[in-house]
């Protein structure tokens, strides 16, 4: 009896919360803490109570509750978004003092910029931009015009950027970027966000004019309520707000223009990009006013702050979203400093500008050259996603040129071949897919790119073999339409050569990226340059063959007919593309020999690894190339043979 009373007492103590967690039908919750304690006392050291299905290894993957690295639901300050709002974590308006209200909203704008840059750099939206309580409940801000319009444009911008990156599917090491579970990204009427912004901009412009006007005119413009009440600070605040609002406007326009298919909006986008950069400069300049002009004090340690003024913004809490962030373990992230964020956007805009200035070269060679050059500036994910979406649209180059046409042009075939039926064959469909994949891979980050390029070498080899087979069949068959057969044979021959050329190009990119990624130790440079040299020999061979069978004459600029003698001489010279490759070859060969000579004569740069031999390292580095026989008959012994007699002494030459 007493036990039952005690039991009920235990139960009712917990009742308010637990009663909302139902037990089964006709069952109750029984407190077993005393029983557990007693059982645990009787267990021996290291003993556990578990069933037959218990597996220690599987149990190790259990999330530990209350461990900040594993438990994303730890209740810190607020249990929920509503609680935070009720507690006044995100007041609207931000302050009843208009000056503080304006100051605070500028801080929020700056912090959001820093969050956005942090998001772009590879973190989740939930922990960055959407740590803003105002954004999570946008409707609450409708009474505050500036805050409301700014939040709307941020939401619309984020949505646009997520859309581009998702379309491109530019895989990065961690696909955190486009995770938007449970985040309110879809806003009704966000397309009109710019009209809200324009209205707000207009008002602030008038307020700026009013405060700058000499006092006699002021009486006339008295009907404009000032932005805030401290007249000395009015001009500074108006300007600070204006450049921030205008930046967002132009940035949103840039994204919208760049999304237009086939690069139609690029010219317009460039204008907006230029405006963005100007506004960013103004934003940077406003920092001095916001830091010193307002409170007259100088804050040290401003470098790390996420706002221009150095103050902490109100209305942000990253933990509120942690539960909806992702099933991955929580991670503490550091929001970029405001200065770094501005620098990030300047770079992003420059990269986008390069894309917008691209001439949409219909030749594949031109595309590859452009992409390789663009990647040298180490563009970030958002810029690269835009490039990929431009290059590959609806399975066509720029959404304009069908892939088969691109291939025939690259293979130096006459233009009418682009309509040939052979494009419908299995081989050519696959080849088209390979080309599209290659273009997409070239837009990814260096590490991912190298990995994927290594993998596709095998695919390109396979397609070569298949095309070779097709050619043999075509040549063997006697078709009723002799012209058609001749054409398909010609197409196959040209494309075969081009596929080889392209394969060697991919191999050379694979090797070169290894340098960019610091994958080779100095003792391995010799073998890498040697391999590069043999690949380049083949590449030059194939390129030369393509040029030789090309029907197009080498283009001359502005030469008239009467210079015909000179022209003839010029035509017999080597094509610039071949010359360039030959330069590369010579460089690679020279470096190989120099490094080999240094090793042979002076014993420098020797492999000192006790774990594996030079041959093993050779095989490790070039495994993917060797598997795909790129090039054929190349092996470690041939490397040794080529380099063992290299000497520094000039007399050998």
């Amino acid at each position: 009896m007493a036990e039952r009373d005690a039991a009920e007492a235990t139960m009712s103590h917990q009742a308010p919360e637990r009663s909302s967690i139902p037990s089964g039908d006709n069952t109750v919750w029984a407190d077993i803490s005393p029983l557990l304690d007693a059982a645990c006392k009787e267990l021996g050291d290291g003993e556990m109570i578990h069933g037959e299905n218990f597996n220690l290894f599987a149990a190790m993957s259990a999330l530990e509750i209350m461990d900040p690295k594993m438990d994303s639901g730890i209740v810190s300050k607020y249990c929920s978004l509503d609680e935070a709002i009720e507690d006044g974590a995100a007041p609207v308006p931000l302050s009843h003092d208009k000056t503080i209200d304006v100051q605070s909203i500028i801080d929020i704008m700056d912090h959001l910029l820093a969050c956005e840059a942090t998001w772009h750099s590879g973190h989740s939206l939930a922990q960055t931009v959407f740590s803003c309580i105002y954004l999570l409940r946008l409707d609450r801000t409708s009474s505050h015009a500036i805050l409301h319009s700014y939040c709307r444009v941020i939401r619309a911008t984020c949505k646009a950027v997520v859309s581009v990156v998702s379309d491109a599917r530019t895989h990065e090491e961690e696909d955190l970027f486009s995770m938007t579970y449970g985040l309110p990204l879809d806003g009704d009427g966000d397309e009109k966000c710019l009209s809200f912004l324009n209205a707000v901009e207009e008002t602030i412009c008038r307020q700026l004019r009013a405060c700058k006007a000499p006092s006699s005119k002021k009486r006339v413009l008295e009907d404009i309520e000032p932005l805030q009440h401290n007249l000395d600070l009015e001009e500074g605040f108006c300007k600070a707000l204006l450049c921030r609002l205008r930046f967002r406007k132009h940035f949103f326009h840039t994204l919208a223009c760049m999304r237009r298919p086939q690069g139609r909006g690029f010219e317009m986008a460039r204008k907006h990009i230029a405006s963005c950069i100007l506004e960013l400069e103004s934003i940077l300049k406003s920092a001095e006013f916001l830091r010193f002009g307002v409170c007259g004090t100088c804050e040290d340690g401003i470098e790390d702050k996420t706002t221009a003024s150095g103050h902490t913004p109100i209305g942000f809490d990253a933990s509120l979203n942690s539960r909806s962030a992702a099933p991955t373990p929580p991670r503490a992230i550091k929001i970029l400093s405001w200065k770094r964020a501005v620098e990030y956007f300047v770079k992003l805009l420059h990269d986008l500008d390069v894309i917008c200035s691209y001439s949409l070269d219909p030749s594949l060679e031109g595309v590859l050259r452009f992409v390789v050059q663009f990647q040298k500036s180490k563009p970030d994910l958002v810029a690269r996603a835009h490039l990929q979406v431009l290059l590959v649209q609806d399975g066509k180059l720029y959404g304009r040129y069908p892939i088969f046409a691109v291939i025939t042009k690259a293979s130096a075939l006459p233009e009418f071949t682009k309509n040939h039926d052979i494009q419908k064959s299995e081989c050519f469909m696959q080849l088209g897919q390979l080309v599209i994949n290659m273009l997409k891979i070239l837009c990814t980050n260096a590490a991912w790119q190298r990995r994927k390029l290594g993998k596709i070498l095998q695919d390109w080899r396979v397609i070569y073999v298949q095309l070779e087979l097709a050619l043999r069949n075509e040549v063997g068959e006697v078709s009723s339409n002799m012209d058609d057969e001749k054409m398909s044979v010609k197409i196959l021959r040209h494309v075969l050569n081009w596929v080889e050329e392209q394969t060697y190009w991919i191999a050379s990119r694979f090797l070169m990226l290894g340098f960019e990624l610091d994958l080779y130790s100095p003792s391995e440079y010799c073998m890498v340059y040697w391999y590069l040299y043999v690949v380049l020999i083949k590449l030059a061979e194939k390129t030369h063959f393509r040029m030789a069978v090309s029907n197009e004459p080498i283009k001359r600029k502005g030469k008239k007919k009467k210079d015909s003698l000179k022209d003839v001489a010029k035509e017999s010279r080597v094509h610039p593309a071949i010359l360039f490759l030959q330069c590369h070859m010579c460089l690679a060969e020279g470096l190989t020999m120099m490094l080999a000579a240094l090793r042979n004569d002076l014993m420098v740069l020797q492999s000192q690894n006790p774990f594996n031999t030079e041959q093993e390292r050779f095989l490790q580095h070039f495994e993917l190339l060797q598997k795909a026989c790129i090039p054929d008959h190349i092996s470690y012994p041939s490397f040794k043979e080529s380099t063992s007699y290299a000497r520094l002494s000039v007399s050998i030459l």
């Binding site: 308010p16 029984a30 077993i32 009787e42 003993e47 509503d82």
Partner: protein, 114 residues
């Protein structure tokens, strides 16, 4: 590990003669394995899952756990829930532990031999 389990059982069996209370508590807890267990922790959250394992320190592993959390700290309010999978609840943060059972069984579970 299988051997370890058997040794444990033989240990318990062999000590059964000398210490009836020990094997009684442990075997009763063993009978609760795979039952629905509700664990409350310090910050006010509750976890409902299948009882999978407990060690000498009192750390509990639950399978297919669901986290329950109140949306307001102070006043009573609806609970939010989400699924977590397999979790480990350290004994240091555990404040309560209940098992889903029939009313008849409840009495026997509350009984602890002294």
């Amino acid at each position: 590990m299988e051997q370890k389990v058997e040794t444990t059982e033989t240990l318990v069996e062999s000590s059964a003669g000398s210490d009836t209370k020990g094997s009684n508590h442990i075997s009763r807890v063993r009978k609760l394995l795979c039952r629905r267990m509700l664990v409350g922790i310090k910050d006010g959250r509750f976890f409902l899952g299948s009882f999978h394992c407990i060690d000498k320190q009192g750390n509990i592993i639950l399978q297919d756990a669901v986290e329950y959390r109140s949306t307001r700290r102070t006043s009573p309010s609806p609970m939010e829930q989400r699924c977590l999978g397999i979790i480990l609840i350290p004994s240091s943060c555990r404040t309560s532990c209940h098992v889903d059972c029939s009313i008849d069984e409840q009495l026997s579970l509350l009984k602890v031999d002294q």
